[in-house]
């Protein structure tokens, strides 16, 4: 499938629990085409977050590969050392993984994960900062700020710019997290249970927001356990016994 933006191929993830091993993902494969809205469903603990982290280049599978635009995201399994990450600047794969996180992927976490010391504006702006070198930043500051204000306007938080995460409601935090994931105009937006901590009304608003983004061509991969939410996606996949199934 040549038009696939993201391909996962036989992804395995095992957690080493000392004596026993927890084989969470047992060969997950999927294709996401550009502009698609995919939902992944599964029971709690089935490994949805784990899979999404791997797809979003945040976690490394023991086996299998993820291809973005046809290029592998991870080093071949044998080179996936524990310290490769620490010395990421030395490894081409790791450098690319960082570049993907900075430019191509946006990630909305199950538990928001905002930086508590920074206010709303800064939390979003920092996602632009990481991509810029210290020298380049002065030139990029103004457009970055403009984009940030625009995206916060879009998610309806223009009047909360100076609030710290602790001073926001759950729905507002989730929207800040989405704004942060979108501020660098990612090719794919990964959202892990975006409605999980929201009430029905807030959840609906958020889904409307995502649908709106999808309508203008945003590729979205979303994890949820709520069939009602999943139904709004183009395509639903189920994660069962460590394997992805269509429908």
């Amino acid at each position: 499938m040549s038009d696939a933006l993201l391909i996962a191929d036989g992804v395995h993830k095992t957690y080493d629990m000392g004596r026993s091993q927890l084989h969470v993902l047992r060969g997950c494969s999927l294709h996401v085409a550009g502009g698609e809205f995919v939902a992944i469903m599964g029971k709690s603990g089935s490994g949805k977050s784990t899979l999404l982290h791997i797809l979003g280049a945040l976690d490394v599978p023991q086996q299998g590969q993820v291809l973005f635009e046809g290029r592998p995201v991870f080093a071949p399994p044998k080179q996936r050392h524990f310290y490769a990450h620490a010395l990421d600047v030395l490894s081409g794969y790791e450098r690319r993984r960082i570049a993907l996180r900075r430019r191509a992927f946006g990630f909305v976490f199950q538990f928001y994960h905002l930086l508590p010391e920074l206010n709303v504006l800064e939390n979003v702006l920092v996602a632009r900062m990481v991509g810029a070198s210290t020298c380049a930043w002065p030139a990029q500051r103004r457009p970055a700020r403009k984009d940030t204000l625009a995206i916060l306007e879009h998610v309806g938080l223009s009047d909360r710019l100076k609030h710290r995460p602790a001073e926001l409601s759950g729905g507002e935090r989730q929207r800040v997290a989405i704004a942060r994931a979108l501020v660098h105009k990612p090719r794919i937006l990964f959202a892990d249970e975006p409605t999980g901590n929201l009430d029905a009304v807030a959840g609906d608003e958020l889904m409307a927001l995502l649908k709106g983004l999808h309508a203008v061509g945003q590729t979205i991969v979303m994890v949820t356990h709520d069939p009602g939410i999943a139904a709004r996606a183009d395509r639903v996949l189920r994660l069962e016994a460590g394997v992805l199934r269509e429908g």
Binding site: H53, G56, L58, D59, V60, Y83, H85, A86, L87, D88, V89, R95, I98, A99, R101, R102, R103, F107, F109, H113, L114, L115, P116, E117, L118, V126, A127, M129, V130, G131, A132, S133, T134, A136, W137, R180
Partner: protein
């Protein structure tokens, strides 16, 4: 960019960082203070050690001394680099104040006083010479006694309240001393180094400035007098005869008035190095010297060069054949050291070597072939030319080593600051694990995250060492005031005991080089201290960090 931004954010938000900064600050201040005080101590010691010597010293480290010094001095006086050269004799002896049962072993220095005044700072170390200029001499002299000037008209005597009690004679010293005293009174020279004596009240009553030092007094109301037989003068190290008070002043004792008799027991040595029978001349205490180096001031006495030379049998003598008893020639006079003052700009090390070579050359000079015995030639070959630093190395080197040692010790103690920076940053890394995960998840690299913590550590170092060196600087500048204040609170808190150290005040200068070294070291150590934390932050997988509870 985010690195700097987040570093600043965290530095301001984390109170605990202030503890790291405070630790760096205190250690910086501590090391700077230690380096400055020890360095100042060393500088003072060096300048004082120099005071007693010339720029260059010719010495053969032999008790027997060496010959041909007059000829050598005559030769080198023509050299353009040489300003003045003077011979000096060193020996050992027993010093006993007349009437006193106490004896001291002393190092006896024979010098030509006028020459020494030119070659080194010996003159400024003398006590009586300051208040009675021109009266200190190593020549034969009597003891001056304080009396009353009965020939001039009587003057008003007053009580403590300043009211006239009646008329009385004017207290006075015998001729050369009185004139010299009045001269220094006129110049406004007053003794602030000694506690008040009984004379102070007498002189105040007579409405005259106090008399410096201690003098014998004529019995009754008599004219000032010169008493006793003429004896050669002796200058005595001040710590031998005066008591050093805790405030650094010297208490002179009534038992030791100026001009009193002292006996010196000396052991002459022959050119062959054997000892003759001891001699025991009587001398008069003419003055006392304080160079500021305790080892010298508590051991040295100074008498006339020619006198000592004669007493030690180091002057020109007939050389007698031990078997036949006939005179076979003359043995040249010997001295133990030559001190040389050189012209400014001359290279002392090079000149010292050149002088040494010239002296060695004298041993084979045809002019002196018939004078020199085999022993003499050997003594000449042991001669070394040294700069004053080289010759005083035994006093300076231990202090220099001490300074290094103490600086290193305090530097090691300062590693505590580095460890503290490490602990605190490590704590922050643990506390902020989730944030680290977030930063990595949105695209921060390991190096970038590590750099946040390294910058953080370096910032602690910069801020801490800046404040610390300022603190240390002002502490050193005001160290004597602080010490005085502490002592005023509790006398037992006197750290710098002036009766122990040779210097009156704690050195209070800070060298720029020391500040730079300490600041650089502080920044380096706190940066190093942050490395462990930075490594831990850097190698965390984003997901691992995000799941951290």
């Amino acid at each position: 960019m985010y690195k700097l931004f987040l570093t600043l954010r965290y530095l301001r938000k984390r109170r605990i960082a202030y503890f790291a900064i405070a630790a760096v600050m205190l250690c910086t201040a501590m090391v700077l203070i230690v380096m400055s005080v020890m360095g100042g101590f060393l500088d003072q010691l060096k300048s004082k050690a120099r005071g007693l010597l010339g720029d260059i010293i010719i010495d053969n480290r032999s008790y027997s001394g060496f010959p041909l010094y007059e000829e050598f001095i005559a030769d080198i006086s023509a050299w353009p680099e040489v300003v003045k050269a003077t011979p000096v004799l060193y020996s050992y002896g027993l010093l006993r104040f007349y009437d006193s049962p106490q004896t001291n072993t002393v190092r006896v220095v024979g010098l030509r006083l006028e020459d020494a005044y030119h070659v080194n700072a010996f003159k400024s170390s003398l006590y009586y010479e300051r208040f009675y200029p021109g009266t200190t001499t190593l020549a034969e002299q009597q003891q001056p006694l304080l009396g009353f000037d009965l020939r001039s008209p009587p003057i008003d005597w007053r009580d403590e309240r300043g009211e006239v009690m009646g008329q009385g004679p004017r207290p006075a010293l015998p001729p050369p001393y009185q004139e010299a005293l009045e001269q220094s009174w006129a110049a406004g020279v007053r003794d602030t180094e000694s506690p008040e004596t009984e004379y102070t009240t007498t002189m105040q009553a007579a409405n005259l400035p106090p008399i410096a030092g201690i003098y014998g007094v004529v019995p009754g109301v008599g004219e000032p007098a010169l008493m006793g037989e003429e004896q050669p003068g002796l200058i005595i190290g001040r710590d031998i005869l005066a008591k050093r008070l805790p405030d650094g002043r010297y208490q002179r004792l009534w038992q030791y008035p100026r001009g009193c008799l002292v006996s010196l027991t000396l052991l002459p040595a022959s050119e062959a190095g054997t000892l003759d029978t001891p001699v025991k001349p009587l001398l008069r205490y003419a003055d006392d010297s304080r160079t500021g180096i305790y080892e010298i001031d508590s051991q040295h006495v100074y008498c006339d060069f020619d006198l000592l030379q004669k007493l030690l049998h180091m002057d020109t003598a007939e050389r007698v054949d031990p078997e036949t008893g006939t005179v076979i020639g003359t043995a040249p006079a010997r001295c133990s050291q030559i001190q040389i003052k050189i012209r400014e700009g001359a290279n002392p090390r090079e000149l010292a070597r050149r002088l040494e070579r010239h002296y060695h050359g004298l041993a084979s000079d045809p002019r002196f072939q018939d004078q020199l015995s085999l022993n003499d030639i050997q003594l000449i070959h042991f001669i070394e030319g040294m700069t004053w630093e080289q010759s005083q190395a035994h006093i300076i080197a231990p202090v220099e080593k001490e300074r290094q040692l103490v600086t290193i010790l305090f530097g090691i103690i300062s590693l505590v600051a580095a460890v503290l920076v490490l602990c605190i940053l490590y704590m922050i890394v643990l506390q902020k694990t989730r944030d680290i995960g977030i930063i990595k998840a949105i695209g921060g690299s390991s190096a970038g995250v590590a750099l946040i913590f390294i910058t953080y550590g370096a910032a602690c170092g910069v801020v801490g060492s800046a404040v610390g060196s300022l603190l240390g600087y002002y502490f050193v500048i005001y160290i004597n005031d602080i010490q005085d204040w502490l002592t005023s609170l509790n006398p037992a808190w006197q750290v710098w005991d002036r009766s122990v150290y040779s210097f009156d005040a704690i050195p209070n200068t800070v060298r720029t080089g020391d500040i730079v070294a300490v600041v650089v070291a502080a920044i380096l150590t706190s940066t190093l201290g942050s490395l462990a934390a930075a490594w831990r932050a850097g190698r965390m997988e984003p997901v691992e960090a995000l799941r951290y509870e």
